[in-house]
Amino acid sequence: MIGAGIKRGTAELAVLSILEEGALHGYEMARRIEEQTKGALRFTLAALYPMLYRMEKRGWIRGSWETSANGRRRRCYRLTAEGKKKLSPIRQEWAELFHALRRLTKVSHG
């Protein structure tokens, strides 16, 4: 199980990455992230929506209302050009962090 602090940091990366695949509404976003991380990242409303609103404010994603075939209104989020630009350095940062941690744990085990 991944701790809450790490989860918070990885949540933005997870959302940006999942939106790279295409526009999604909140529930579907949370479902796919949970499925793809095999339950390691699970979003409550308090973890997901405030983050989406913050990212929208920063201009990384854009939300728009869409009506589904069964007449339900949902807010779908898309990655903006700004968000796409942001994704690559965030990925790089996390890759470096995980690489450093892997090296560290190998040293301490060795």
Binding site: G26, Y27, A30, R31, L45, A46, K57
Partner: protein, 232 residues
Amino acid sequence: MADWRRLVRRHLSGLGLDSAEQEAVHTELSEHLQEAYEALLREGLPKHDATKRALTLAGDWQDLQRKILMAKKGRDFMQKRLHQLWIPGFLTMTLSTVFLMALQKQRFQPRMVSWSGPGNVLFCIPWLMSLPVFGAIGAYLSSRAGGSRWTVLLASVFPAPALTAAFLLMFPIDLIVEWIIGRQVDFSLVATAILRDGIGWILVPGAALLAGGSLAQFLLSRRLGSRSVAGN
């Protein structure tokens, strides 16, 4: 089946966003819960269990409301509210309470005012005379932090609504205790006490605080006005 829209609306009624934005948040979150609930039903969960599981997604509603407000309005908004209302308000309340306690320690007797109606109202005159000063301090601090006219006035009279809340809480508790110990409650006595203490400890002190707060606000706005004229 739960009415998710109603449930979300009820729990997030104090979001403090404009009505269109608040409605959008309510719709979005209730749709999320509805979809989660339907997915759980498809997994074969009974309705009751599906509702309970979907509700766990909401977690602590207060926390959710606070986080949404912070995300929508920014961290600055909460900081501003703290400096414009809560700190000046609590300071006004602390100063007035400490001064009253000091007066009581000095054995100042409250002055009784009688009228032909329900009884005697107690007024602690030195304390009442100090309240405009404390109200003015609250108003000054709120105004210095950039509070709006209404926030400044609310900060200056802060002890009055706080005491009202305490009164409203105290009387039902007292009634319950009296009922438990089996004592007959005379409602006319309770009503008289509420009226008497309401006037003596809330209404008149509130007016004194407001007088000080209004005066401070008036003087500060005039000073700002003359400064901007000088600046021109």
